[in-house]
Amino acid sequence: MPTIRLQRIGDHESETVAIDRVRGAGLAAGPPLQAADRFDVTLRGRTATAELSATSRDGSACLHIDGRVVPFHSVRRKDEVLVWIAGRTFAFHVSGRSARRAGTTAAAIGTHLSAPMPGAVLKVNIAPGGVFAAHQPLVVLESMKMEMTLSAPHAGCARDVLCREGDLVEMGATLIRFEDSVEDRSGPDKPN
């Protein structure tokens, strides 16, 4: 019985879904699932009978779960799967035991300033070693002609400035690395 653990990107909890193929063309073979395959699916201790009634090369597919018609679209990436279903979209991290926790302490405490969107660096208001106050504007980004000022999350000191005016940066790129805070609350072993 293949069991898959899914963690919604940005969520802390993960869910496990068990799929048990009981009927269908190649029922002994295990995955891959194909159109017209029927199987039992177990989630949170409850089991339902489902059938994959249609699939298409463009990523659209349809499930019947105990008689309910459930159309969906999906896209697979390395260890992620994107699902559109009933007007909502979900990005799941497909994980084994090493479930990654999104928004870890390090980021929350603030060891660095990262780009919240992809774009061009318009202005950098701090030099390496520079001291800043909380809420002081540090970097101005521009994306799709929209200007966004990135301010300091707290008072501190810049250890490294990793961007220059005119740079194109990806979303999530580290722009400024801060000096460790005096209390150093950002130890990796700190429990969440």
Binding site: L63, F72, G96, K145, E147
Partner: protein, 498 residues
């Protein structure tokens, strides 16, 4: 009528304009930047020529390149769409100088109305009500600016003189943030419009944004095509528009329509334009600005009047009289437009980039989707993140809302984050349904919390099926494990098996 027209734009508006041109028997010329080589608007044209470059400034804003292509390929007219060069008087003039018809108002009208300060003066002079403010001067001292802001009274709005679309605009609530807002609005305006001048205006709290579609021709006719309510905005940019406005009585609609026609006449207007008003709680309305182009939200007017505004633009540009009169235009039903943006509403509406990997818009009677992308399209950082417009029409506002919710729930997009779920939250909100809306709606109602609900159980099953479907090694990947027991997941869930 013209035989060949160049569209100096990209995205959904280029596709939409191309459709009407082709229906009228006019050949469509597209232009494209390097990232847009395979773009949807190029595929919908009859001819396409490169603009060689990536940024807007070196492509869709390059007057010389665009007019040269028009000359070379024999286009007799240029449709500018919205944004980019659509409200650029220099461009309209360059077209005129090159003997190409600019599909829009004359250059001097664009120049006057594009200068928000002069536009206000003209409207004030014509007896159209305007918002109190200060025109601003270049190199004004911080002290002068603060003095003027104090005279007007906080909160004030710092606005770009050449502005539009919320760019170069800042709300300032006290003097401490005035200088920074003045400087950054100026920088943003300089980057977006090439003109860094800004001015001050009284900020009217929680107004409604009501605009009137106007149309003029070269024979002295000016007609309004009713209002559009555009109060649902984020970052001063509209995301939902509708007509008729739930706020207007027939009497108020009549007065505002008359003011809109008066404004268009005062401006010496021809072709399609929009007169924007702020409507206060108390029912007073003020001229905000005039947009001298086709608006993004023009389809709601089209669906309720039965007119094709682009066709009318072509007729006027060809020198013929307007194909309708004030007495012949009628509105029927209710239309709502939702702008589908590649952005993450739960993270401050940050733009999202990537490849569109699934694209399945809804369809049906009274459902129109104007899209600028298709499956496989790249959404880059270079241009505006609007992907498409979902436009719904039905008999009553309630019917239109129900149909919009249905359509949004069936609008499948994967690959980039979109605001489709967020739009569902807005449209489904009781206050929206009640018509109780204003430009601060999204600040007053926190809608993003509804979006953080945990995944629908069906989504988890679908994700697993997607992983197992046609992926032979899925079970062997480290991501898929074999169950030992049901321990950690045995809490009762909402998933019902029936």
């Amino acid at each position: 009528m013209f035989r060949k027209v160049l569209i100096a734009n990209r995205g959904e508006i280029a596709v939409r304009v191309a459709g009407t041109l082709q229906q009228m028997g006019i050949a469509v010329v597209a232009v494209y930047s390097d990232p847009d080589r395979g773009a949807f608007h190029v595929r919908n044209a009859d001819e396409a020529y490169p603009l060689d470059g990536k940024t807007a400034a070196e492509t869709y804003l390059d007057i010389g390149k665009i007019t040269a292509i028009a000359k070379r390929c024999g286009a007799e007219a240029i449709h500018p769409g919205y944004g980019f060069l659509s409200e650029n008087a220099q461009f309209a003039q360059a077209c005129a100088d090159a003997g190409i018809v600019f599909i829009g108002p004359p250059a001097d009208v664009i120049r006057c109305m594009g200068d928000k300060v002069r536009a206000k003066e003209i409207m004030h002079g014509a007896g159209v009500p305007t918002v109190p403010g200060w025109s601003g001067v270049s190199n004004a001292s911080a002290k002068t600016i603060a003095g003027e802001a104090g005279r007007i009274g906080y909160p004030v709005l710092v606005k770009a003189a050449a502005g539009g679309g919320g760019k170069g605009m800042r709300v300032v609530r006290d003097v401490s943030s005035l200088a920074e807002a003045w400087a950054s609005a100026g920088r943003e305006a300089k980057a977006a419009f090439g003109d860094g001048r800004v001015f001050l205006e009284k900020y009217i709290e929680r107004p409604r944004h009501i605009e009137f579609q106007v149309f003029g021709d070269h024979h002295g006719n000016v007609v309004h095509l009713f209002e559009r309510e555009c109060s649902i905005q984020r970052r001063h940019q509209k995301i939902i528009e509708e007509t008729p406005s739930p706020a207007l009585s027939d009497a108020l609609r009549g007065r505002m329509g008359e003011a809109a026609v008066k404004a268009a006449r005062a401006a010496g207007y021809s072709n399609a334009g929009t007169v924007e008003f702020l409507l206060s709680d108390g029912g007073e309305f003020y001229f905000l600005e005039m947009n001298t182009r086709l608006q993004v939200e023009h389809p709601v007017t089209e669906l309720t009047t039965g007119l094709d505004l682009v066709r009318a633009q072509l007729i006027v540009a060809d020198g013929r009289p307007l194909p309708f009169t004030q007495d012949s235009v009628r509105q029927r039903g209710h239309a709502i437009e939702c702008r589908i943006y590649a952005e993450d509403a739960s993270r401050g509406f940050l733009p999202s980039t990537g490849t569109i990997e699934a694209w399945a818009p809804p369809s049906g009677p009274g459902i129109r989707v104007d899209a600028g992308v298709a499956r496989g399209s790249e959404v880059s950082v270079y241009y505006d993140p609007m992907l498409a417009k979902l436009v719904i029409c039905d008999e009553t506002r309630t019917d239109a809302i129900d149909k919009t919710i249905w359509a949004l729930k069936r609008f499948a997009v994967l690959g980039v984050t979109t605001n489709v779920e967020f739009l569902q939250c807005v449209i489904s909100h009781p206050a929206f349904r009640a018509g109780d809306i204003n430009t601060a709606f999204l600040e007053q109602h926190d809608l993003t919390t509804q979006m953080s609900e945990r995944p629908h159980d069906d989504a988890l099953v679908a994700a697993c099926v997607a992983l197992l479907n046609g992926q032979p090694d899925a079970a062997n990947q480290p991501s898929a494990t074999h169950a030992t027991d049901g321990g950690p997941w045995q809490r009762a869930g909402a998933w019902r098996s029936g």
